[in-house]
Amino acid sequence: MLATIGVGSVDELFEQIPAPLRLGRPLELPEGMSEAEVFERLAALAARNADAEEQVCFVGAGMYDHYVPAIVDAITQRSEFLTPYTPYQPEISQGGLQVMFEFQTAMSELTGLPVSNAGLYEGPSSVASAGYLAMAATKRRRFVVSRGLHPHSRETLKTYAVGYGAEVVEVGLRDGETDAEALAAAVDGETAAVFLQNPNFLGAVERVEALGSAAKQHGALLVVAADPMTLGILKPPGECGADIALGEGQPLGNRLDFGGPSFGFFCATEEQIRRMPGRIAGETDDVDGRRGFVLALQTREQHIRREKATHNICTAQALNALAGMVHLAWLGREGFRELGELLVQRTAYARERLAAVEGVELLHEAPVVREFALRLEAPVDRVLERCAARGIAAGYPLGRDYPEHEDGLLVAITERRTKAQIDELAEALGSAIQAERGALVANSATNAPAEQGAG
């Protein structure tokens, strides 16, 4: 090969790099390893994580321990889906393009909005993208955001806003729900968009339609972040006046993966179609009249419009969106609704069961679907330690993000959490709280088992 090129060595080819910029030493990294050794090494690291097999997982906060059906892996692991690039050559990418089209259809159905893209990175950055769209659509630079919106979404929106230059105003919660009056007061003629989440971060089902009216009045867009698993039973954002509905797609066919990769979904009204971020597949036909699919509306995109693009996204999360689509097809129309109902019923049981525990009370009484907030009469972190030692991840400590709820615990339910496990959680919470109250005794007891939990 060197002869064909006309050089004596590969080094010659690297001579275009100025000598002082050549590293001239090996990287300070370990030597290469055999496949078996790499496997053992990573298995050893994985063994030091307390995953949902090792600890019964009642943690949610945006990502949930749902059961991912086996066909999702079987299909997403096929080379033909796993290894191609973004479908720039539609003639040889019909599989991926049709999946996008089917996915867009499903997300439009779920959200009740006519336009969906093929997916974005994940939830919070999708919220920030909605802000960018709203600015372009309204030529305004002010966002009014409910504190019921996921803390990560709020922070990400702020990070982006610093860049594209917008102001973010937060509106608090009352009894678990977004404070309607405060919201109405905050929205004005300069407001580009109002951001809500439903169910909100505390699990409460919001009165989206009512809350949204403030946005409508002032010509601001209504952006609703939704948990897709609740859209089988909750009124779709599109029917509540949302201009944009988006969210974290993980509950649909994606594993927890310590937070990613998953996907974000993003749906909007027809008016916004040419301002949408991300890839969009469209139906068309070929020269012989055969039905086919292509990337539509590419005139929005960076590879065509460069600095004038409506967004900078290129590589997104296509494979994760496929997983979501397969999961939805597996559940099917009836199954999807049933799963929603199952979550409501089990969660209602869990909420009552836990509220009845001594030292535990509800943080709010608002209706919920699959997650709810409690108030504990003992330090939350200590209680979590004790539960962890018993092999239970009891929930998400609200103090992490809500100073006003230092005593708050957010508990999530999936179809994997059995009644028996819920009862066990109640038992564990109860005794942990008792122990914590009973001072001294506690201290000695905790640490030891706590370590164990870490293994």
Binding site: I17, I71, E91, T284, H303, A454
Partner: protein
């Protein structure tokens, strides 16, 4: 050509919705194990959905058949040569899928107490360290979800860096060869793009650069560069470029999409860059998944570090004798904040760390050597044939990991556009190179073979290009009507944008 339809062309495709039959389903769900109360008792009726969404109603066997069938309508990296320039379509080791799927990774909740996610945090820390060493920059954030996300992060870091010194700057310089995401990110970050010209050697035109800086040095926030650039050429003036930008007070941003050319050979940090993004789905073997997932970690210099996104994975030395521990550091007052939820695309980190462990220091350097060797060999092979005149190399020097040809003569002399060549290549069983990018090369054809291709595939590709040029000399129509053997033939993209149909119309 092919009057008869291929078997795949014959079977018109149907969507999963068109295979739906009321009452069918795959899922069986556990029962609620709880008193079944009417929903309305638990949630106000006016907040409930009237009709379940019209998802497909199909049993499992048909779902599997449907998506398997669709999969066969994709060309993929495991089907053949995929020299898509700038995308680094290198082999995706299956080991990486296996380790990413271990329950300790796959079922680990992102909000798990760091005390009980030590393995995951250590893996992230080790990956940060490895990438830092590869980039020659001390600090790494894994948070960005892809390259363009990393670019945005880099620009927000630049803004924060300047703000911290009480400055506000408005301009970001970028060569006309830059990738579309660069200018798009610049706009999203609230900056204005200033184009810098390319010189005859394919590098930055220094005079133009100086001019653009001198216009208003205080407004120069950043220069975004790819090196080797999208022409596959290493810019020899990089040191001087860095000096100029730094002198003006700007930051130097490295678009790492082309890192596959220089791993273990040259490091952005040593070239003077302040901020680098890497595409783990390119240089570090994360499968592209038909358009993601990927990850776009950023590596930065000391002066940028304080502004890195939150949270940051840190290593804490163990006190009184026990080993080190790992944690998520949220207490970063100067941080630009979060770019997304939780800790980033962890599953991608697992794959890329497994890849780095597999190759090791030597392996990575060798990978880049082979990538450069393959590119130069294919370039030479093409130059031996008709491509020499019909598809001349845009800048005639040794290339790094990829090279760009111009279809201009081919179009003038044979009436064959680069697009036609690309479509005809499909009939030969190849994925075409990247076309019409970079913009400054007319009828551009951007070829990146990667290190995991054999000499045989490179030769076969060169032979195919030759065959197509010969064929075109006889009858250019053949290529102009191509492809013939693909599941569908050329599609009407204009229609899809003019009257977009972006979802299935569903019956009630």
């Amino acid at each position: 050509m092919a009057a008869v339809e291929t078997p795949m062309q014959r079977e018109r495709t149907r969507t999963i919705y068109e295979k739906s039959k009321p009452g069918r389903r795959a899922a069986v769900l556990p029962d609620a194990e709880a008193p079944a109360r009417p929903l309305e008792e638990l949630i106000p009726a006016d907040l409930l959905r009237a009709e379940p969404p019209r998802l497909p109603e199909v049993a499992e066997p048909e779902i599997v058949r449907h998506y398997n069938k669709l999969s066969r309508r994709n060309f993929d990296l495991d089907s053949g040569f995929y020299p898509l320039g700038s995308c680094t379509m290198k082999h995706n080791p299956r080991l990486n899928e296996r380790v990413a799927a271990l329950p300790g990774h796959a079922r680990l909740h992102p909000a798990q107490d760091p005390k009980r996610a030590q393995g995951a945090l250590e893996l992230m820390w080790l990956l940060q360290e490895s990438l830092g060493e590869i980039c020659g920059l001390p600090h790494v954030s894994l948070q960005p979800s892809a390259g363009s996300h990393g670019e945005l992060a880099g620009l927000l870091l630049t803004r924060a860096f300047h703000a911290d010194r009480g400055e506000e700057r408005s301009k970001v310089l970028a060569p006309d060869t830059s990738h579309g995401t660069n200018p798009a990110s610049v706009t999203m970050a609230g900056y204005e793009v200033v184009k810098v010209a390319t010189n005859v050697r394919g590098g930055v035109e220094m005079d133009d650069l100086r001019a653009k800086i001198d216009e208003d040095p205080d407004q120069v926030a950043c220069l975004m560069l790819t090196n080797p650039n999208t022409l596959g050429l290493f810019d020899e003036n990089i040191a001087e470029i860095a000096a100029l930008i730094h002198a003006a007070g700007g930051t130097l941003y490295y678009d790492g999409a082309n890192l596959n050319a220089v791993m273990g050979h040259s490091r952005p940090g040593d070239m003077g860059f302040d901020i680098v993004h890497l595409n783990l789905h390119k240089s570090f073997s994360q499968p592209h998944g038909g358009g993601g997932p990927g990850a776009g970690p950023i590596a930065v210099s000391e002066r940028i570090e304080p502004f890195l996104p939150r949270p940051q994975v840190v290593r804490r030395e163990g006190d009184n004798g026990d080993g080190p521990s790992f944690d998520l550091d949220l207490d970063r007052p100067k941080s630009i904040g979060r770019l997304r939820g939780f800790q980033g695309n962890f599953g991608v980190f697992v794959r890329s760390y497994a890849y780095i462990l597999s190759l090791g220091a030597d392996g990575l350097a060798e990978a880049s050597e082979t990538a450069v060797l393959n590119a130069n060999y294919l370039k030479a092979r093409l130059a031996e044939g008709r491509a020499a005149d019909r598809l001349p190399i845009a800048f005639d020097r040794h290339c790094m990991h990829e090279f760009v040809l111009s279809g201009r003569p081919m179009k003038k002399e044979l009436g064959l556009a680069t697009l036609d060549l690309a479509k005809r290549l499909l009939d030969f069983g190849f994925h075409p190179p990247t076309v019409y990018f970079p913009l400054l090369v007319e009828e551009a054809l951007m070829v990146e073979p990667t290190e995991t291709e054999t000499k045989e595939s490179l030769d076969a590709f060169a032979d195919a290009v030759e065959a197509i040029l010969v064929e075109a000399e006889e009858d250019p129509e053949v290529a102009k009507q191509a492809p013939y053997s693909t599941p569908v033939r050329r599609l009407d993209e204009v229609k899809a944008t003019r009257r977009p149909v972006v979802r299935q119309a569903l019956a009630h």
